[in-house]
């Protein structure tokens, strides 16, 4: 889909390697994120995910632990604690449903890991505890290193079978981690599994890195880096680490957003200090100006049909979200009217809602606005919540928050029912972006 000529600009990139460590997708990072349940979830469905047979409990590849954690993270399920499990069935035939009814589990997941040729295979079953009905029974190929990925896949399948919504546990998140005290800080662009496991540093710099944005196929990240002592926008292919500097114009180069077909980036550029939104064709380098206004126009987000952009502007005095059609007239209309500050719009996967930063009763919080009704519901209760990004199934929103003077990531359900924190064991973390599904295999 992408026809980005990454190789063309490697010369420019080479000159910058002195100040930036450009890292292949294989450098482990230490800033591991950990899920902390910060708010009890009402109406979460009790489910037992029994430790799988054929593997030791407690390792990184403990399938039941990963599946249980994923389901807990979704906010819709309350996995049974292992210490409460009196038996360890590994197949449907071994389940004594009355035991699990007593434990008040509505559903049960059992399974086992078996050798399969040179690799492994993981069998699993999902049953309704009340009726005993089998809801899923599958065998997935795996490997010693691939057990966590298989576990996320199982969680996806269980989640979809029970909610009707595809699971997003197999996707990844990108974010920025910052270590050190000002002015000597170190910035890292990190990609990790959606549960925070396996962080990999893809770029490291002494100068700020910000605004990572996934390409629609989930293979590339666009981001802003100040490594040249001024902002520039880069596109990096994660599989190879190869990257291209796609915009380093005089002034600001910021807020990259991919068009739905992956061929263009919307960007914020400045001329004489005035920020406006442009689109850049990645194949032809053709630049098209979208807004022309004395105000700050930034943070573009494409509509699903690629025919209009949502963006932040303070043309009416305060930051609000507008929508501009990408036709000849380029007429912008205001979208947000609730609250005096609304910024950084991000569209839900179904295109019906906008997640944004809203100034709500004195705090910068994450809101979700229904585009048809314009109703705004505030999901969070922090003072400094920002950078919302929808999970590709639309069920969750990841965002950045501040606690105790440190940045951390948090997750809220898009219906506002719960929030939970992904805490980092070191440094500041910020600017999360959730990977889209991309082409599904």
């Amino acid at each position: 889909m992408q026809s980005i000529s990454l190789a063309l600009r490697t010369r420019a990139t080479a000159a910058l390697l002195a100040v930036v460590s450009l890292l292949g997708f294989a450098v482990p990072s230490h800033a591991q994120l950990r899920l902390d349940i910060t708010q009890g979830v009402r109406d979460a469905v009790p489910i037992a995910v029994v430790p799988f047979g054929g593997q030791a409990e407690g390792g990184a590849g403990d399938i039941a632990a990963v599946v249980g954690n994923d389901l807990r993270m979704s906010g819709r399920f309350a996995p049974l604690e292992r210490r409460d499990m009196v038996t360890r069935p590994t197949s449907g035939a071994e389940i004594r449903f009355e035991d699990w009814r007593l434990l008040k589990s509505d559903f049960i997941v059992v399974g086992r890991v078996e050798p399969d040729g040179a690799g492994l295979a993981v069998s699993f079953e999902l049953h309704n505890v009340r009726t005993g009905a089998s809801l899923l029974n599958q065998r997935l190929p795996s490997s010693e290193k691939g057990l966590r990925a298989t576990a996320h896949r199982i969680a996806d399948l269980v989640f979809e079978r029970l909610t009707g919504i595809p699971g997003a546990f197999s996707t990844r998140i990108a974010y920025v981690a910052v270590d050190g005290k000002p002015p000597a800080q170190r910035y890292r662009l990190i990609v990790a599994d959606a549960d925070g496991f396996g962080p990999r540093t893809v770029l490291e710099s002494r100068e700020p890195i910000m605004s990572p944005a996934w390409s629609p196929d989930g293979q590339n990240l666009a981001y802003v880096s100040f490594e040249g002592k001024a902002s520039a926008v880069y596109v990096q292919r994660l599989a190879t680490g190869e990257r291209a500097r796609v915009s380093a114009r005089t002034g600001i180069n910021g807020a990259p957003a991919w068009s739905p077909d992956g061929r263009k980036l919307a960007l914020t550029l400045s001329r004489d200090g005035n920020l406006d939104i442009y689109t850049l064709d990645l194949a032809t380098q053709a630049l098209t100006r979208v807004t022309s206004d004395d105000a700050i126009d930034t943070e573009a987000e494409w509509a699903k049909d690629g025919q209009s952009l949502f963006f932040t502007s303070d043309r009416a005095g305060n930051a609000q979200v507008y929508r501009v059609r990408l036709d000849e007239a380029r007429k912008a209309e205001r979208v947000t009217f609730t609250n005096s500050y609304n910024a950084r719009p991000r569209l839900s996967p179904d295109g019906k809602e906008l997640a944004l930063v809203t100034l709500d009763r004195g705090g910068y919080r994450i809101g979700v606005m229904d585009l048809a009704s314009r109703n705004l519901r505030v999901l969070t209760n922090g003072h400094q919540d920002e950078s919302p990004s929808f999970a590709p199934n639309g069920a969750l929103v990841i965002y950045a928050t501040r606690e105790g003077g440190r940045g951390s990531l948090a997750i809220a359900s898009s219906d506002g029912a719960f929030q939970q924190r992904l805490s980092s064991d070191q440094g500041d973390v910020r600017d999360p972006a959730w990977q889209p599904f991309g082409p599904r295999g």
């Binding site: 700020p208 100040f226 902002s231 600001i252 920020l275 303070d314």
Partner: protein, 177 residues
């Protein structure tokens, strides 16, 4: 071209502190009265230890060391107006740049951490442009000035309280010769 964030420290360590204009506390507004003059604190120490090599410095270097006593303009919340307290600061930098037409300055605009990151890049740029226009109005050539906005990405100090916010809403003059 070499930018000299720490130029003031470097010159002061050569024993020039005594040549610098003394910092009057009332010249700058209250928020972070001494943040822009942080280098003057180092000056005392450094000056005491160094010999008198003032002759090694050009008049331009001496002038630069003097104005870098105050090389930050601070702003009110959500404002890009230069407060009265900082008008003399901007004027001093303008005079230097007019007197030495080959001198260059980079104006680095910053915001506090509140609000959305990319929008804050815009606010930081707006502040840098306000200072740029003030310099142009006082006769500095366009070619002498570049601007960059870091938004909230490079705070001067850590912290999520009003004192930290006040020190982070700023434009820094970064001079090169």
């Amino acid at each position: 071209m070499k930018f000299m964030h720490l130029a003031a420290v470097a010159f002061l360590s050569l024993g020039l502190a005594a040549c610098s204009k003394p910092t009057k506390p009332d010249e700058t507004a209250t928020p972070p009265a001494d943040a822009g003059a942080a280098s003057s604190g180092l000056g005392g120490e450094a000056a005491a230890g160094a010999g008198t090599t003032a002759t090694a410095l050009t008049p331009q270097q001496q002038a630069l060391a003097a104005i870098q006593q105050k090389n930050v303009v601070y702003f009110e919340f959500d404002s890009s107006e230069i407060g009265q307290a900082y008008v003399p600061v901007v004027a001093a930098h303008a005079q230097y740049l007019v007197k030495f037409p080959t001198a260059r300055v980079r104006l680095e605009g910053h915001t506090d951490e509140r609000g959305s990151r990319e929008y804050n890049i815009g606010l930081g740029e707006r502040r840098a442009q306000t200072v740029r226009r003030a310099l142009l109005a006082q006769g500095v050539a366009e070619s002498q000035i570049t601007t960059v906005s870091y938004g909230e990405e490079r705070p001067a100090v850590e912290g999520s309280d009003e004192a930290a916010f006040a020190q982070n809403r700023r434009v820094e003059f970064v001079h090169a010769q």
